[in-house]
């Protein structure tokens, strides 16, 4: 878990107001309250992703929620598939025995 200050330093050049806006838009969802936010590894990676979308790929901020929503759905389904596959492997294993 890292604090907002550390994350801002890591994302060299990102204005604090931008990160605060991302949090209030719920694009990034740290633990804690304003002033004492704590970011887990996944929050840090997500902030990096948004930063890369905006800075390297020139996706403007209006389009970012669309990209995030599609990615969240994609990863949600990939988690479902992985779970279903591991469940299936367990079942298949029993049948073979």
């Amino acid at each position: 878990m890292i604090s907002m200050e550390v994350l801002i330093t890591e994302l060299n050049g990102l204005p604090v107001q931008d990160l605060e806006r991302w949090i209030s838009n719920r694009w990034v969802r740290p633990d804690g309250q304003a002033g004492t936010y704590l970011f887990r590894e996944i929050d840090v990676a997500r902030a990096h992703l948004i930063w890369e979308l905006r800075e390297q790929m020139q996706v403007n901020e209006d389009a970012i929620p669309v990209v995030l929503l599609l990615l969240d759905q994609l990863y949600d389904q990939r988690r479902h598939i992985k779970n279903a596959c591991s469940q299936h492997e367990r079942t298949a294993g029993d049948q073979i025995q």
């Binding site: 719920r26 969802r29 887990r40 590894e41 996944i42 929050d43 990676a45 997500r46 990096h48 992703l49 890369e52 390297q56 790929m57 020139q58 995030l68 929503l69 990615l71 969240d72 759905q73 994609l74 990863y75 949600d76 389904q77 990939r78 988690r79 479902h80 598939i81 992985k82 779970n83 279903a84 469940q87 299936h88 492997e89 079942t91 298949a92 049948q95 073979i96």
Partner: protein, 313 residues
């Protein structure tokens, strides 16, 4: 050694050597959008390509590094950077639930549960076999090779990304861009089907002195004034070892002399190539006796060496 991304950074970004910084930035942006690993989960090719593109951008976006690369002071590999975990590494695991589309505080999406769907699919097919039988996939690699190693042939030991070690025989006469196929060394097949192949593209680096044209090799050979006037045997380093070459008396600078069969060795269906030396006159340090000789010298047949240029109007 590991197989690193040794692709020329200009080639990786698809830009020319004379590209402006803007063109490089745009090329990188377009490729990053396409190959970013978080946008391509489960696609190792996209990830590999993204690494190459990022490494190329690392060099070319920085005018100092770009200059160093152009002058040959640094190579295309550079220092590998510590890989930051990508969003995907978390999003697919349990941590990913933090950003579920069905987050109760947002009404963006209904969060349909697909587990029933998957269960029904797997119940139907599960009885027949646990995994489909499939031949392994071919895997592509690139390997940098010295000019002379490629001409004379060599064996290189490689460590693949999955830790396997391969001895790759690079046959004599291998040319840049040639692909070697190592049968059965690619991705594993399932249910007894054969493995895929490892396809290794050889990228031959340039030589300081030699250039290669197909089966022939060229060299610019410096000779002294007396060797040019009087002729004589001079030692010539060829890829196969030093050879004594006879220079005819009165050889001009720019004369091309051939050593038959001393180029790239025969391989496959190709016969061995020739070695061409282009003479370059080197006067060396100033020499008083030589200068005095020319002051007093009356040529036997005075001629104007620039006679041919007079037609330029």
């Amino acid at each position: 050694m590991a197989i690193a991304e040794v692709e020329d950074p200009y080639h990786a970004l698809g830009v020319s050597k004379t590209a402006t910084q803007d063109e490089i930035r745009n090329a990188y942006r377009n490729l990053a959008k396409k190959h970013h690993p978080d946008l391509n989960p489960g696609n190792p090719k996209a990830e590999e390509r993204f690494k190459q593109v990022s490494a190329a951008n690392e060099i070319l976006s920085d005018p100092v590094k770009r200059g160093q690369f152009d002058r040959g002071e640094i190579d295309a590999i550079g220092q590998p950077r510590a890989q930051r975990p990508s969003y995907r590494d978390y999003a697919e695991g349990e941590d990913g639930h933090r950003y579920d589309p069905s987050d109760p505080s947002s009404d963006d999406w209904g969060g349909e549960d697909f587990s029933d769907l998957f269960n029904s699919i797997f119940t139907k097919t599960g009885r027949s076999q646990s995994r489909p039988s499939r031949q392994g996939l071919d895997q592509n690699y690139k390997l940098a090779c010295d000019f002379l190693d490629a001409v004379n042939g060599t064996t290189r030991r490689l460590t693949l990304p999955d830790g396997r070690v391969l001895d790759v025989k690079i046959p004599a006469g291998t040319d840049s861009g040639q692909v070697l196929r190592l049968r059965g060394q690619g991705g594993p097949g399932t249910n007894g089907r054969p493995n895929g192949d490892a396809l290794i593209e050889i990228q031959v680096s340039a030589h300081r002195f030699y250039t290669r044209e197909g089966q022939n090799i060229r060299l610019t050979l410096p000779i002294s004034l007396s060797e040019a006037v009087l002729g004589g045997p001079v030692p010539v380093p060829t890829p196969g070892g030093p050879v004594q070459m006879r220079i005819p008396p009165h050889s001009d600078g720019g004369t091309e002399l051939r050593l038959r069969g001393r180029g790239v060795p025969a391989h496959g269906t190709k016969a061995k190539g020739d070695f061409y030396a282009t003479l370059r006159l080197v006067l060396g340090e100033p020499d008083t006796a030589l200068s005095e000789f020319f002051l007093n010298w009356k040529p036997e047949h005075p001629a104007n060496p620039r006679l041919g240029l007079e037609t330029i109007s």
